[in-house]
Symmetry: C2
Subunit: 219 residues, 2 copies
Amino acid sequence: MAEAELDRLLTRATMRRIEIGEAVFEQGQKATRFFLLLHGRLKVAQVTPAGQQIIVRVVHPGDLFGFAQALQREDYPGTPIAAAESVVMSWPNEVWGSIVEQNPHLAVNAMRTIGQRLQEAHTRIREMSTEEVERRVAHAVLRLVEQAGRHDRDGVHVDFPLSRQDVAELTGTTLHTVSRLFSAWESQGIVKGGRQKLLVRDKSRLQALADGSTRSNSD
Amino acid sequence: MAEAELDRLLTRATMRRIEIGEAVFEQGQKATRFFLLLHGRLKVAQVTPAGQQIIVRVVHPGDLFGFAQALQREDYPGTPIAAAESVVMSWPNEVWGSIVEQNPHLAVNAMRTIGQRLQEAHTRIREMSTEEVERRVAHAVLRLVEQAGRHDRDGVHVDFPLSRQDVAELTGTTLHTVSRLFSAWESQGIVKGGRQKLLVRDKSRLQALADGSTRSNSD
DNA sequence: CGCGAGTTTGAGGCTGTTCAAAGAGGGTGG
DNA sequence: CCACCCTCTTTGAACAGCCTCAAACTCGCG
């Protein structure tokens, strides 16, 4: 992309800071802008008619989100909520059109991103169809640590506040079950919990649980 | 698109007939072509490491499929299997590139399609997270009837051979549970089953089950 | 007519949910 | 600086929905 063009792009961008718990926009709202997460972490939630909530995905710094319009949608399909203090950049939809026209390459790129997401969604569907809760949770934790891990001499931390409830909503179970699992894992030295904290001490053993090696170690 | 261009496109296309049970290509195979279903019906399956199978989606006539390369994937993520005698058209991947370059509009369109699929995937995830089996199966049947319904004076038929096992793999349950549900529904006059057949007699009552009106009618 | 794939149905058990209640961490205001 | 409160977490007990195992049945085709 030409530098002049990049400049023009940045000129039209708006920055905004999002407090913990605050939503960038609301599910169902008319989609007028698209966004880029610069800093922080967002959980994209969807609410069912019955009022239950699930987390569709986690947005990491550098990810585009809320580009509903690129998918020809009128409204935003979910609500991105700040899990940590965050900073987002956004553009009006019109800009997207001109970008794509002038840089077909970029459209291809965006498509790859969406393709990856579709892939992830199918993976999650497969896991929910075929795996029992413990393995699903193990997978989810591994993914979180992969995407948002901060290394440390004790292991890898999930680098943003994450409650048991959040993990439950990511894996389609209840916070009670997640809590029980974490307790069991902690007593085996695999993880270490804390209030909205999670530290993975032994990634390989967690991986073993995720892969379904039926037996845990030590009788 | 210019007619000359369309011609050129059709010239490079290959047609192929797929017998019931036959696969168009195999999961994991290197993606060299992309496809359009002209006639028939395909179930896209994914196999887990443990050998379990799930149905990721159903391909209907007019749908593009297997365009992994557009998503920058090397290989096909699933295996499309003919549920009915089918006819597919296919092109080498290179063609896709030239189409997109010459018709950015088309890329946008493809993106919308993928966006819809992502949407569907998220809906399915939400259902699997929050709904119990009966409602999930009801939703799946309604979708099938919507996308592949053939009307009739008794109701709406699913217009391709569909086993209980298939429905189970679509909804993340077992064929036993599906069979029991269908039996129960049949005795209430909501559906009528048959060997790889399904007839929905009372769509509104099925919708009520899907929406979770806890109580059935009668008594 | 017999075989095989698909379907039905029963019984029992397990995983994970629901309901309930108590326990801790950490921020805030007095 | 301490006490309080709110939210998040832990843990127990009982229940239930669904799966697993098992076996019989039936439709349709060769």
